[in-house]
């Protein structure tokens, strides 16, 4: 029977062409949207590599030009924040804290691996405890690095792979300029700070050494507060700090708030796309339903004939559902041929598993959709009395 249906659809390919293209396009749209959704979801389920709960960002903006003065105030601020009972750990940082709309990249070269772009995070020794980082190999920064000849860095696994492959990373020197090098002292699994929905990227941490950088200023303080610390402390802290830094602008926000606003940036377009896609698919379904309905009404005499030749009403029903599924199969085959190119050609830096699952889900959904559209017309077809069908010639 299946072969019969394929033959029937194939022979009617001209009149079915529109339906097949419609199914093809629906599939492509669905596949694209699902790939996007699955990509985000896939990233979302991966570890961030840090714990942002109870971490606050204090943004420091100076309004004066006196570097020496500003630097003094910054160090006083740091000491004052550390001295609060509610504060557990503090680290200076650039503005690229987790979930911030800010990035800093640097390119590193090692041997034949030239110009690997990586996110760079300037942090202090306490940063590991602020963000509760886990190291896989080597160690984190410590006072012993004060005297280091090279500038110590901790890299993530992805950067290690890109620079050193399977080689040991600890102890490797990466040139910064003619006279200085980075030295790798530790490797951590993950650090996915930009957004929960973004993929892991190469990253490394560089140690802030206050003694060696006597004029430098950093724009953020990351503060781990004791669990349950609330707005009251935030106000108190800002009030006290304002006394030290009178002309400065100080702003406090929690990383949780930043995570939420960053997530919105992905979720809103995802939902909008989902709605547009849903609307599109709904339209296609309506069209499909209409065409199927029309086709079946045009085929009364064929239905009557088949009944006369020995088809039961249930067999007519199955035939019409089957025909639609075969029709969908033609459209889907076409679509899969196109869709499969993405993982095969590795067009984008997206894991194949995302595409493959989007592909299967889109195929499944299209089958479901077409079957749903065919359900009612097919039942109508099956209900046609054989004698009546033959009479209408």
């Amino acid at each position: 029977m299946i072969r019969h249906l394929f033959k029937l659809i194939w022979n009617r390919k001209k009149s079915n062409f529109l339906l097949i293209t419609e199914i093809f396009f629906s599939f492509m749209v669905l596949f694209a949207v699902l790939s996007f959704v699955f990509y985000n979801y896939c990233n979302y389920t991966k570890p961030l590599g840090f714990d942002h709960q109870d971490v606050w960002q204090l943004t420091l903006r100076t309004n004066s030009d006196s570097t020496a003065q500003n630097r003094l105030i910054q160090e006083q601020l740091l000491q004052r924040v550390k001295s609060f009972d509610e504060v557990e750990h503090v680290s200076l940082s650039n503005s690229n804290v987790p979930f911030a709309f800010s990035m800093m990249t640097n390119s590193l070269s090692y041997g034949s691996n030239k110009e690997v772009q990586a996110n760079v995070y300037d942090v202090q020794d306490d940063f590991k405890d602020v963000m509760k980082l886990q190291l896989q190999q080597g160690r984190w920064f410590g006072p012993q690095d004060d005297a280091s000849r090279h500038r110590p860095i901790v890299i993530n696994l992805m950067l290690k792979q890109k620079l050193f492959g399977e080689e040991e990373a600890i102890g490797k020197l990466i040139p910064i300029n003619d006279s200085t090098n980075y030295t790798v002292i530790g490797v951590m699994d993950y650090y996915r700070a930009y957004s929960e929905f973004n993929a892991e990227e190469p990253a490394f941490f560089s140690r802030i050494n206050l003694q060696q950088n006597e004029h430098a200023l950093w724009s953020s303080l990351l503060i781990r507060v004791k669990p349950g610390t609330g707005v009251a402390f935030e106000e108190k802290m800002v009030r006290e700090l304002s006394r030290i830094a009178q002309n400065w602008t100080l702003e406090v926000t929690t990383l949780e708030k930043m995570r939420k606003s960053k997530a919105r940036l992905t979720l809103v377009p995802m939902i909008a796309l989902g709605l547009v896609c849903g609307f599109l698919i709904f339209n296609v379904a309506l069209g499909l339903f209409g065409v199927l309905w029309h086709n079946i009404n045009r085929r009364h005499s064929e239905i009557g004939l088949r009944r006369a030749l020995g088809a039961s009403s249930a067999q007519i029903y199955r035939q019409f559902i089957g025909e639609v599924l075969v029709l969908a199969t033609f459209g889907l085959l076409l679509g899969v041929v196109f869709a499969i190119q993405l993982p095969l050609l590795e067009v984008m830096q997206v894991e194949s598993v995302v595409y493959i699952s989007a592909l299967f889900a889109a195929v499944g959904l299209i089958y479901l959709l077409t079957a749903l559209c065919a359900f009612y017309p097919s039942r109508q077809a099956a209900a046609i009395q054989p004698a009546v069908a033959l009479h209408e010639e």
């Binding site: 019969h4 033959k7 029937l8 009944r307 030749l309």
Partner: protein, 232 residues
């Protein structure tokens, strides 16, 4: 083979009630070639549909092969149609999008346990019987009316039914082509012993069969055997 007892068929449409058949008692023995004549609208097609289990009578009993067809389920009726009855229609009723061979195979599609190769083998034999072996790959639109009807007959006989019900099989054909079709049916009746009930408008065709029944206004008005006819 077929026995109709006190059949009545009333069509109920919105406002009007049409009595298509009334008090029909008819027995068709095995191997008989029966023709039915009567003016248009007198209920011939209705009668054939009831015999072929495509329609149910409003009253009366249909028996096929000694089985009383009463409150049979759709599936069982379909099974009997498939096994025992072949249909031939005035307008051929071929599926336009299927080749001649695929059209002929159709009844076997609704029979379980027949492989694809077996189906096409039997379809070729059936087409040979009607002299269309050379046209298996053609499509209905590429054939003449007579050829189309021969395809329809091949389709009716592929399942080796005991009964063939033919509703004006030559109605759309000129006399030469009609003659051809008639000869095929006569051969089927003589050689395979197939019981045939044929509705026709053509007296000459009817006279070639063993028995002729005339209908008028839903009722049987005469029943003549050619055998008697010739004796007289």
């Amino acid at each position: 083979m077929i026995k109709l007892s006190d059949i009545e068929k009333v069509y109920q449409t919105k406002s009007i009630e049409t009595v298509a058949l009334q008090h029909v008692n008819l027995e068709v023995p095995k191997g008989e070639f029966l023709s039915i004549m009567g003016p248009s609208g007198c209920g011939k097609s209705t009668l054939l549909n009831i015999m072929g289990l495509l329609d149910v009578p409003s009253k009366g009993v249909v028996e096929i092969d000694g089985q009383t067809i009463l409150s049979y389920k759709d599936k069982e009726l379909a099974h009997i149609r498939n096994q025992k009855i072949g249909f031939v229609f005035q307008s051929y009723h071929l599926v336009q999008d299927l080749s001649v061979l695929d059209n002929v195979e159709l009844p076997l599609l609704y029979r379980s346990g027949i492989s694809g190769s077996e189906r096409s083998k039997r379809a070729k034999i059936a087409l040979e019987k009607v002299g269309l072996s050379a046209r298996t790959r053609h499509y209905p639109s590429q054939l003449s009316g007579g050829q189309r009807q021969r395809v329809a007959i091949a389709r009716a006989l592929i399942g080796q039914p005991e009964i063939i019900l033919a509703d004006e099989p030559t109605g759309n054909l000129d006399s030469v082509m009609g003659e051809e079709i008639m000869n095929i049916l006569l051969d089927l009746n003589r050689e395979d012993g197939t019981t045939i009930v044929m509705v026709t408008h053509d007296e000459n065709m009817a006279l070639k069969t063993e028995r002729l029944i005339r209908f008028f206004d839903g009722q049987q008005v005469s029943d003549a055997r050619m055998y008697d006819f010739q004796k007289v």
